[in-house]
């Protein structure tokens, strides 16, 4: 039986990276026994000193004390450390963007306002430097999301490990992403405002009507498909990739993530989703506290974030964004926390911590980046908590992962022990080793 103490494993890792110039896109599969750790399953009480066994990519078992005799594998002594489920960022552009200002490296936004058939999974770069940078922080899983226009496309839930997009994808076309049209106008006084609003409304109504029309077209397409059941004498239906791509949405199988921040826009979005008969998840939600009753009544889940962002209006309370999560929690509305970032999706736990600093119970903050996003997207049977049978997406840390000063020591994705290197650790090692002239 091989036994690694965490510290030894770490130094071995550091030696290994000197010989590497590019990072592996997956980890080392095997059977692993993590012992001596405080285990935080998230969906059940904390186990103060327990074990967790990883085999065949899954969590085989976990519990108090030692693993039963007869279980063999690589033992990781994590005494004094903590085990958590891998964190899930419900909205990133990871895999779609390398360097924002370099057009050739950006694949997040298609031309035009309506691109339901644009799939993130078709353009994911598994060898992006952002992937190791993010996963060594304990964020193991993200939804990679297209952006721009009104219907931006379909997101893919991915593990941050894999040599091809297909190896990374946990659930393709997990949701359709809509950036809801915003009614914006300004004016020097009320009279001017009213005038400007009238003008703005024209463009806004047209955008909204266009959006509704896409849904109606897709519904009509669904009815046409149904009508042309086997044995039907109706003429063969022409293929239409755009309308086909929306069948999951109009059939209620695929949710629509609607981005909206202001109360008025959120109300309109709820109305739109209800009329269209689609399953809505709200994203953004800066002013969500103004529409709490509506969201509770309709039981619309909310993806809050980025939390580390400014309130949109000058007269908003300074802590508005930080307090949204506590308000949703108190109202019993399901929610998760997201970064809507790419390069710094690694800061996901600090977005959650900001909510905890402003009234959200700490354990709920942890749930908001683990089991909550998994439940909202219907993948909680696979990821989001430490339970036997679930995919072994987890990490070992030396403390509370919501604290910046905590260090993540081990990351497992789909049961593979991931290298703890990234572009950033490699650059650190390279320049730490730069020869310095001795001080004379």
């Amino acid at each position: 039986m091989k036994i690694f103490r965490l510290s030894i494993a770490l130094s071995l890792g550091a030696l290994g990276l000197l010989a590497q110039s590019v990072l592996p896109s997956s980890g080392t599969p095997g059977t692993y026994i993590i012992r001596g750790a405080t285990i935080h399953p998230v969906t059940s009480p904390v186990i103060p000193s327990g074990h967790l066994v990883i085999a065949d990519g899954k969590i085989e078992r976990l519990g108090a004390g030692e693993a039963p005799a007869g279980v063999t594998g690589v033992v990781i002594d994590a005494t004094g450390f903590h085990v958590y489920p891998g964190m899930i960022d419900a909205n990133t552009n990871i895999g779609l963007i390398e360097i924002n200002s370099v057009r050739g490296s950006v694949d997040s936004s298609e031309i035009g306002d309506f691109n339901p058939n644009a799939r993130a999974s078709a353009a994911l770069n598994p060898h992006s430097e952002l992937i190791p940078v993010t996963r060594v922080s304990g964020v193991t899983t993200v939804i990679s999301v297209p952006e721009g226009g009104i219907i931006s496309g379909q997101g893919a839930m991915i593990n941050l490990s894999g040599w091809t997009p297909q190896q990374m994808v946990l659930r393709d076309a997990i949701a359709l992403y809509v950036d809801f049209p915003r009614l914006r106008s300004g004016g020097f006084n009320a009279a001017e405002l009213a005038e400007e609003e009238k003008k703005a409304k024209k463009g806004y109504e047209k955008q909204l009507e266009d959006l509704r029309q896409r849904i109606r077209d897709a519904q009509a397409f669904a009815r046409a498909v149904e009508a042309r059941a086997p044995g039907s004498t109706l003429p063969r239906l022409e293929r239409d990739l755009v309308l086909e791509s929306m069948q999951g949405v109009v059939g209620g199988r695929v949710p629509v993530v609607i981005q909206a921040d202001y109360a008025r826009d959120i109300r309109e979005a709820v109305k739109f989703a209800e009329e269209a008969g689609v399953r809505m998840i709200l994203s953004g939600g800066a002013h969500v506290q103004e529409v709490i009753d509506l969201l509770r009544e309709k039981q619309i889940p909310v993806l809050l974030g980025p939390i580390l962002s400014l309130p949109p209006r000058a007269d908003d309370p300074y802590d508005l964004i930080f307090t949204n999560a506590a308000a949703l929690h108190a109202a019993g509305i399901p929610f998760a926390i997201q970064t809507r970032d790419a390069h710094n999706a690694r800061n996901l736990p600090y977005h959650a911590a900001a909510c905890a600093a402003f009234g959200l119970p700490k354990e709920e903050a942890l749930k908001s980046i683990t089991i909550n996003p998994a439940r909202i997207f219907g993948v909680d049977d696979v990821v989001g908590s430490l339970e036997p049978g679930k995919m072994a997406n987890l990490f070992v840390a030396d403390g509370d992962p919501l604290e910046i000063t905590t260090n993540v020591r081990e990351v497992f994705i789909a049961g593979e022990r991931m290298p703890m290197d990234s572009r950033h650790t490699l650059l650190y090692e390279k320049f730490r080793a730069r020869p310095r002239k001795s001080a004379e």
Binding site: E98, I99, N100, S101, V102, E129, L130, N189, A190, A191, A194, L308, S309, L310, A314, D315, P317, Y318, D319, A342, H343, N344, R346, N347, P349, Y350, A353, A354, A356, A357, F358, K362, L402, E403, I404, T405, T406, N407, R423, H424, T425, L427, Y428, F431, R432, R434, R436, K437
Partner: protein, 464 residues
Amino acid sequence: MRKLSLNQQSLRLTAVVALLITMALPAAAQQKEILIRNATVLTVTNGVIENGSVLIRGTRIAAVGPADSVRASANAEVIDATGRYVFPGIIDAHSHAGVVGSVNEGSLPNTGMVRIHDVLMNEDITSYRQLAGGTTAANILHGSANAIGGQNAVVKWKWGKPISEWPIPTAPAGIKFALGENPKSSNWNVPSGQTRPYPNTRMGVEEVIRDAFVSAKAYMASWDEYEADRRRRLDPIPPKKDILMETMAGILRGEIDVHSHCYRSDEIVMLIRVAEEMGFKVKTFQHVLEGYKVAPEIAAHGAGGSTFIDWWGFKMEAYDATPYNVALMYRDGVLTAVNSDSDELGRRLNQDAAKAMKYGGLTADEAMRLCTINPARQLGIEDRVGSIEVGKDADLVIWTAHPLSTYARVETTLIEGEIYFDRQRDLAMRESLKQEKQRLLDMEKAAADLEKKTKKTKKKEVTR
């Protein structure tokens, strides 16, 4: 001389005695005292005092120490900070908040003649939000559109005070330089029909800076010549005053500090070379994302490094940015600070400081300096702010937890002994602000309705 009655004499004597007593008493008795007691005091420069107190007298810190050693006068206002942490006001070495309109006078490669001081405003809510995040002072800089930008303003976020009271009068003057993609206009399109402005390369950026100092030296020489001729009573004609050249001369004379925006390591050493050739010092490199590659060179020049800690990959020149930058620069002896360059990040520089512990293993003590005394030293205001020391300005922040914790929240922010943010006060004011807003909206609406009515009446009159 008129003889005074006994009564008058005693009255006069009393007055004199009273005057003498007043004069003899330390200034203390006349100044307001605030005692923050029973807190964990993070002094930054003199360690941590558990169960400590800070006494504020007037605008300054009068005493710091264990709670039982700090005595306040009987009428001192007492803030019980049991279970709380007192930290110096955070200093943001790179901000653009509170500027009217654009931060870039981007029309020329060198706009050293313009000043941020002229476009500061005190009504930007951002300032208040900085206070709510424990930030009390900032270096307000010109943008990075040109190789040599405008002059800075070092201010305290004195929300509610006239803007004339915001600048720190003793702060040395400073100017923004910029290297790399921004001054060479890499990331925006030139409107059709217009030619791309000079410079277009890092070569051109270097040349703009070199040319400015070569011209400044000639300008200074012409004035020296004039002064010499004048001393010889030759009645010379003075050279033309040039405010841009005055600025460049100020840099060469060491009166204006250079704060240079930069990313790549080669452009950092380029500016060091130009500076050493021309005879001035770069005070700080700003952003300096590749500072870690040339940290020994930056340290040898004596420049500071002011950086945001984990932004990377947003443009080509930020692709090699790493959060380990701070630790590497710091360990090579560079005076290092974290800055925001962002109205949002400016509210939580304590968290960026904490990241230097995570990435590169700085101690808590070292991390705390990154957002307090180090930026103060970079801005030349360390004699007034940046740590909790007797005699320094009472710019203090009371936190609910250690400011390096993500769970910490600001309760109270003081500048020079005055409360500028208080969470309880903020919460209490929300309802009245809401009502006030509604009242204003109602008035607006009433005015609009009236205007509509009047217009209709007028129309009728015209028709008639």
